[in-house]
Structures are given as C-alpha cells and as structure tokens.
C-alpha cells in the first residue's frame, strides 16, 4: 500500500529506532508481538523473572515446556518467529541493576514499561527523566487498564502526584486487636518469619504490652505473671529459639500462640471494653470434639473449601512438621523465605490465619482466598493486556511521528460510560512544580525523631524504601545517578505511636481507612503492592478529537468552546477527595462537559467549500 508524506518518515523511523520494553509478562508479551508486527526492528526487553504455570493464561509467548526459564529470553525467541529479521536483545536481569545507567537508557528513542511494581516504575521514571527519553507507562488489573505518556518538561512524571504508600497496619492491630481477616493473615506471615525465616523486629507476633489502648500498668495481674513464668519470659528468647527448644512441637506451639497468648491478651481488659473479646483454643478439647469433615465434592476447587477448626489445627500441625524438617535439612543458621507457591508455606499461613480468625470471631477463609490476600494476587486475563498493549503502540507512534502533544492518558474501563465509551482519553497534565523527582531543584522535607532513628533506618526505611533511592550516598546525600536531595532535619518527638517518619505535605504513614470500591479498583492497576494510579481527578475528558477541524482559525474557536477545567484546580480537588474519602472522580467526568461541548459545536463545524 502506498504511503504518503509524513508517514514515510514514520515508517523509516520505526525500522531504525531502538526501543526498550521493561517487563516481559502480561503486558510485555502482547507489546512485543505488537511491536514486531508494526515493524519495529530494534527491540530490547528486560525481565528478572522466570516463567510460572500461572502465567500461561495470558503470557502467550510462553508454553508449558518453558516453565522455569527466563521470561525475557523465551519472549525474545517466540517473538522472533513472527519476524525473524527483527533484532531483539533479551536481558534476564533487574532494571534496577546499576549496569543499566543513564548511558544505557540514552540508546533508546522510546521506553515502554510493562511492570507490576512501583519500585521499578519509580526507578525507570527517574532514569528516563535523567536521560530525557519519552516513557510510556501502563498498568492493568482484571478488566481495568491505563496507559500514559511521560516526557520530561512536558508532562507529569510518574512521581509528580503523591501516591498512597502500600497499606500497612499498626503493630497493635496485628498483635492485639485484629478486626479483619487481613490482619490475621499478616500476623500469620509474620509468624512464619519468626519461626522459619528472617526474624524482623517489625514483625512481632506476641501480645504488644506497649499498646496505648491497653493503658498498661506495670503492676501486673496474676494472669500475666503466670503467663510469663510459663513461657520462661519469652521476651528474652527469640521465637525461633524457643520453638527450636521445643523441637518445633506443633501442639506446644499451638497452645502458646492460640491459648496462652490469647489468655494474656484477655488480661488487658481495657481492650475488650468495646470489642468482642477473643476466645482461646485448647488443642486437646478440639481433638476430643472433632467430627469428620463433610466433603462437598465437585462444586468448587479443592482450595476453595473452608475447613472446620479442627481441620485447620491438623493443617497447622502438618505444615509445621514439614517446614521445620525443611529448615533442619538446610542446616545451621538457615532461613526459609515465604512463597505463596510453596505449598507448606501457604498451608501454614492458611492454618495460622484461620485459627486466629476463629479466635477473634471472624468467618474463616478458604486457602484460595487466603492465597489471594497473603500473596497480593491481582487477577489477570489476556484481553485487558492486549488492549493496553495496543494503546501503548499507538501512543508510541505518535511520539515517533513527533506528535507528543496528541498523546493522552487513556483509561480502559470495565463498563461503558454514559457516552458509551469503554476507552476514555484524557489530556496529559504538565509537570508538578514541587515534584521532588522532576522539578528543577528537587527537594523534600522529612520529619523524624533524630534520637530514635538510626542512620541505617534512615537509609533503609526512608531513603531506600520510601523514596526509592537505589544507592544513596551517605556522605553527600545524593543518589547514585545524580539526583540531589536535601533533607531538612527537624527534631520532633511527638510523632504518633507506630509512626516512624512523616514526609511533610503528606498524611502520616499509617493505615488509611478502606477506600471506596471505585478508588480501590482504579488504584491497583499499577500492580502488586501499589495503591494508586496517577491521579486524574483534575483531568477533563479530551473532547477535542470529536470534531476534526480543518481550518486553523476554527481550531482555536473550537478549543475555547470546549470548556476544560484549569489544570491547577486538580491538586486541591484531589486532596479533598482523599481526605473525605468520597468516591473520587479519578475516572474523568464525562457528562456535563461533553454534552455542553456537543451543543456548542454546531456552529463551529462550518467548513468553507469551493
């Protein structure tokens, strides 16, 4: 087919330019296929992961025989089949490896993210800003998806809008007063680490005597004294050591965790004034009154069955035995790492969480449901990824054709909106003036207790974890790749209990109230452990493409007729939404503006004809 004018240049640029795809999973596979068929000839793809059987429902470049192999490598081989003359380079590596420095990124005309976690997205965002390369960002979750373009100086960067950090729960909720299944699941994962894995001071499972709600008095009650004596004052002995001393005896473990510790909690009576008190379990009693579990054959998956209490007691015992023998096999000083796909590890968390749920009067959950929550599983299908990958390429073509102003953020919804649209484009916002990543003089202020925070904690929890710095230089306070950050140290002692630090301009780092359904659905498309999308409550739906203006005079007339809200109003609205917890308009409004625009357009469409 003959191609005219500017499209020849575009076709040339497709075959000569180099592009980078970060991630070879759900979006990555579809994207690689699209790039190859569109005519891109020089593609590099990077992914640190290997292929799992659960990937095969959507990551179609992989087959069963490839399970265990490198995603990037196999993706390259499969994609080459579609166009053997393409040049594809695969890296089985993490994009956060310092080897992929600014020079590496500068090789590319375009970078496309196909990631599933925020840390990597933050990192690639910063690298693309440093190298000044356009970045196409995207994400999917279930039926929902989104694509956006990030161009230094022109658009918001990925970190311009503060995103809520991953949901964490206060220690006392986990240790003393769980009220939701997720609290019990988090507790069970902590327990796994305390017994079999890397012990972490932030992952205590025993009752928290310092709970301010308990209004604890050192003058103890008889029960507390008894409990302490029984366990040999466990605070001085690590949980793992204590367990080892009992030979990982499941029954002893059970009675300590689900009976003694609960009885201890009961003595903190202030906690139970307004809450339903927990009921301790006794192994012997449960065994004596156990009845054979009724099987409901066929109707659901095996994993979807909810067992009885005794069933979970047995599962607990069995998994403890398996895990402790794994641990012993590994030898002295060994540690296990929790993995949702490791059956005994998953069994253990299922059992422990359910026993705790039962104690605290919650309905128990099936292994299937526990796995979703414990493993942060995001449901996924092929078609959503296919649509998003298609949109990524369309945005990419606009960039290569030099038409970045026509790029949009596009949302893929589950149901059509009032205008019957499933795909909703929005105009891109300009960069945020005080973004600590892309502003010309990036700066952020953090409050923390100078006396209580160690330098290591400052580095690990604040610089690395919170701000995503890969290799902060302690001496000069700058990151490896040349971003300068100025930390204003404020001596503050009144941070709330359980709050380690506070970034000025944001709410303290605590568990937020559960978001409305819409927000939560919108906010998980950025992947596992992410809590928000680039916020769009300020964005107007892009109406300008509805009417194609031929004459340039009319173009101005029409744009003023389509009333768009000023970008500056965005920030304010967004914060108020978050604070009041309203169902936010993070998906852009469509009704009012669009119908107004449509009515006004009648006169604007007169085109002079000879």
């Amino acid at each position: 087919m003959a191609i005219s004018h500017g499209y020849i240049e575009l076709a040339d640029s497709l075959s000569s330019c180099k592009v980078l795809v970060v991630g070879a999973g759900g979006i990555g596979c579809e994207l690689l296929k699209n790039l190859v068929l569109t005519g891109f000839k020089n593609i590099e793809v990077i992914d640190l992961d290997t292929i799992d059987v659960s990937n095969l429902n959507r990551q179609f470049l992989f087959q069963k025989k490839h399970v265990g192999k490198s995603k990037a490598q196999v993706a390259k081989e499969s994609a080459l089949q579609f166009c053997p003359s393409a040049n594809i380079t695969a890296y089985h590596d993490s994009i956060m490896n310092p080897e992929y420095n600014v020079e590496f990124f500068r090789k590319f005309m375009l970078v496309m993210n196909a990631l599933d976690n925020r840390a990597a997205r933050n990192h690639v965002n910063r690298m693309c800003l440093a190298a000044d390369i356009p970045l196409i960002e995207s994400g999917t979750a279930g039926y929902l998806g989104q694509v956006t373009v990030i161009k230094k100086g022109m658009t918001e960067c990925y970190e311009c809008q503060p995103k809520p950090t991953q949901k964490t729960f206060p220690g006392c909720t986990i240790r003393n007063t769980p009220s939701e299944p997720i609290h019990c699941i988090v507790w069970a994962k902590y327990l796994f680490n305390q017994l079999f894995g890397e012990e972490d001071a932030d992952q205590e499972v025993s009752p928290d005597t310092a709970d301010p709600e308990a209004a604890w008095k050192p003058e103890d009650t008889a029960a507390r004294a008894t409990a302490s004596e029984k366990d040999g004052d466990i605070k001085r002995v690590s949980t793992k050591d204590w367990a080892r001393s009992t030979g990982f005896d499941a029954v002893k473990l059970f009675n300590k965790l689900f009976k003694d510790d609960i009885m201890y909690l009961l003595t903190m009576d202030k906690l139970w004034k307004k809450r339903k008190a927990p009921t301790p379990l006794d192994w012997q009693q449960l065994e004596d009154s156990a009845r054979p579990q009724e099987e409901t054959p066929g109707s659901g998956l095996k994993d979807q069955q909810v067992l009885g209490v005794w069933g979970y007691c047995q599962l607990f015992q069995h998994s403890v035995e398996t895990l402790s023998s794994h641990l012993q096999e590994k030898g002295e000083g060994a540690e296990l790492v929790w993995d949702k796909d490791d059956p005994p590890a998953m069994d253990f968390v299922t059992a422990a969480a359910n026993l705790r749920m039962h104690i605290f009067s919650m309905n128990m959950k099936s292994r299937f449901d526990v796995k979703s929550m414990a493993g942060n599983i995001i449901p996924a299908i092929a078609t959503t990824n296919a649509v998003i990958a298609g949109l990524i390429v369309l945005e990419g073509l606009k960039i290569l054709a030099g038409e970045v102003e026509t790029c949009r953020t596009i949302f893929l919804n589950k149901c059509p909106n009032l205008r019957k649209k499933l795909l909703v484009p929005c105009v891109l916002d300009p960069p945020s003036a005080n973004c600590y990543v892309c502003a010309s003089k990036p700066e952020v202020t953090v409050k923390f207790n100078v006396h209580k925070t160690t330098v290591l904690a400052l580095q690990d929890r604040i610089l690395k974890e919170r701000f995503g710095m890969v290799a902060p230089d302690r001496k000069n306070c700058k990151t490896f790749f040349g971003y300068y950050y100025y930390l204003c140290v404020v001596r503050l002692h009144e941070l709330e209990h359980d709050v380690e630090f506070e970034v000025v301009g944001e709410a303290p780092d605590k568990a937020p109230t559960p978001p409305s359904n819409q927000e939560e659905a919108n906010s998980i498309t950025n992947g596992n452990k992410d809590s928000a999308q680039p916020s769009t409550s300020s964005k107007a739906e892009d109406d300008s493409d509805d009417v194609m203006i031929v004459d340039s005079d009319e173009e101005e007339a029409a744009s003023s007729a389509t009333a768009k809200p000023a970008p500056s109003s965005g920030t304010k609205r967004k914060h108020s939404d978050a604070e009041t917890g309203e169902t936010s308009t993070k998906r852009p409004r469509t009704t009012q503006q669009s119908s107004a625009a449509a009515d006004n357009d009648d006169d604007d469409d007169i085109i002079a004809l000879d």
């Binding site: 499209y7 429902n57 579609f82 085109i607 004809l609």
Partner: protein, 307 residues
C-alpha cells in the same frame, strides 16, 4: 445450549486450576466451567481473527474451529502472528493451526479450509458461539438469523486501518449475572469482625445478581430508519463511522470536490441529507477521520472518538 454445559465434566483438574488461576480469580469458577464446555466457530483468520483466536484459546474454551478459505499471502505473516513466514500458498486456517494449538493444548483446535458461505445451516448449529470476521453482510445476516433463534451467540467484526467495529447478538433473552458488593448490615454478633458497628461495604464479599438483556438481530440493526425522529435523537451518541462502515443502502457516498493538501472530503448522505462528513487521507494507513457536515439544517449528528 450454554445452560447445559455445567453437566459436562464438572470437575476442574489440578492442571487447569493452576493454569487458569488468575482468571478464575477474576470471573469465577462457574464462568470458567462454562468456557471450558463451549465450542466456538471463528471464521476469518486475518489480523483480527488471529487476535480473537488467541484470546479464546487462552481463555480455555472446549473447542475452537478456525474457518478460512483464503491462502497465505506475503502480507499475511505481517498481519498476524499465527502464520509462519514459510507458509505462503497454504490455506490460512491450516497454516495457523499449529501455533494456535500450542497456545493452549487443553483446547481442541480444528482448521477448516472451506468457504464460510458454502457451509450449510446445520454446520453453524453445532457451536455455542460463532465469530464472523471480515464476512459479507449477507452472510452475517443469514448466520445471525439462524443462530440467535437457537441461543447461539453471534459476534461479527472487522478492522480498517485505525477503524473497526464489533457487533454482537446474544439473543432476545440473554441471562447473566452481575457481581455486586455485599453491604454488611450492622449486627451485634457480626461474624466478620468484632468492630462492625456501622453498615459498610465489605470489600471482600460480593453477591451475584441475576439479570436479563435483550439484543436485536443484525437485520433489525441494519434496517433502522435513521430519518425517524426516534433514531435522530439517538444520533448524538452514534459514532459517525457507523454509517461508513455498515454501508447502508440508504447512504450514498459523494466525493466532495474540495481537496485540502493531501486529503479529500467525503460526505455520507442519507435520503439526500448530509449525515456525516469525512476527510480521507489518501492512500495512507492512517485511515479516515470524521468531521461534521456543513449543513446547519441537520438536527443532531454523532461524534466519534478518535483515540
């Protein structure tokens, strides 16, 4: 037919549970069972057809029949990814079979080299759903008529450059369920947590609500009288390209004289009234972009979103 599917093979194997895990967590086990009991026909293995084939096979239908009489051309391998570059001259459906099957060995994939127009009525009746891609209007109307009466779901579609359409007829009485969040009523002894004092939306619990929808036939859709008052009222929300794409007999195309740089202007006329205007970038893979006609006498017109 779909309602009886559950009786076939109700037990999902461990292999299936592991492979389909992420989608079962989205649309539920019941939906997955229905998929794995359905047989689907896919006619037309061009670029769009290959994508549909991939998506259906990955979803785990029971069987998929690839029907295409066309031969693989040099362009075929660039249009779609199921046909190997070495397969020129072969039948397109047969050439797509191996890669299609490898996408998911648990699906029975067949290739049929016949013309879809030559198939007798009862050929279509063996399926639970049929997808007609790039087919003629007459064929689509015929198959739609035949299938929708027997609760066989019909999907039609095609693409042209940046444009495309999809039509579906799920029957006059299509039953489905919608997932809605459960509202937890406040009770003293609420089992979901000791602190449930107020009614809240429980994000973990959902309930299925039964619903019914009614679809019109393709014939009915094509025969809509766009000059009627009722239809005109709906025009605002009807994409202009709808008319271009379905080539209604009542629409005539007039190529306008004015040429702007490298494009020409085309108008869609309905009963001698200008309905829609397009400007066409000549010979370009960018396709066509819509615009509104010059006449202000026309009441209401549709807008198209061009992403």
């Amino acid at each position: 037919m779909i309602d009886t599917i559950e009786k076939e093979d109700p037990v999902i194997s461990e292999e299936e549970a592991a492979q389909y895990d992420r989608q079962i967590r989205l649309w539920g086990l019941d939906a997955q069972k229905r998929l794995r009991g359905s047989r689907v026909l896919l006619a037309g293995l061009g670029g769009l057809g290959a994508e549909v084939a991939k998506n259906l096979i990955l979803a785990g239908v029971k069987g998929l029949t690839l029907l295409d009489h066309e031969q693989v051309s040099e362009e075929s391998c660039r249009a779609q990814f199921l046909v190997p570059v070495t397969a020129q001259g072969q039948n397109r459906a047969k050439a797509s079979l191996e890669r299609a099957q490898n996408l998911n060995p648990m699906v029975e994939v067949h290739a049929d080299p016949d013309r879809v127009e030559d198939k007798p009525d009862d050929f279509f009746l063996q399926f639970d759903a049929v997808c007609l891609i790039g087919c003629s209007r007459d064929l689509m109307v015929r198959v739609d008529q035949l299938c929708s009466q027997r609760n066989i779901k019909v999907f039609c579609g095609d693409v042209y450059g940046y444009y495309g359409y999809m039509f579906c007829n799920l029957g006059q009485e299509h039953n489905y369920v919608e997932e809605k969040l459960k509202v937890v009523k406040p009770t003293r002894d609420s089992n979901d947590g000791p602190e449930a004092k107020k009614a809240k939306v429980d994000l973990n619990e959902t309930t299925m609500v039964k619903k019914t929808a009614s679809f019109c036939t393709l014939k009915e859709a094509l025969e809509v009288d766009w000059t009627s008052e009722k239809a005109k009222a709906g025009l605002k929300r009807t994409p202009v390209d709808y008319f271009l794409l379905h080539g209604n007999e009542k629409c005539q195309f007039i190529k306008q004289v004015k040429k702007y740089k490298c494009f020409s202007v085309i108008y869609v006329i309905l009963d001698s009234k200008p309905l829609a205007g397009f400007f066409c970038v000549e010979n370009s893979f960018a396709g066509i972009r819509p615009m509104s006609p010059p006449s202000t006498k026309f009441h209401g017109h549709g807008h198209a979103a061009f992403a």
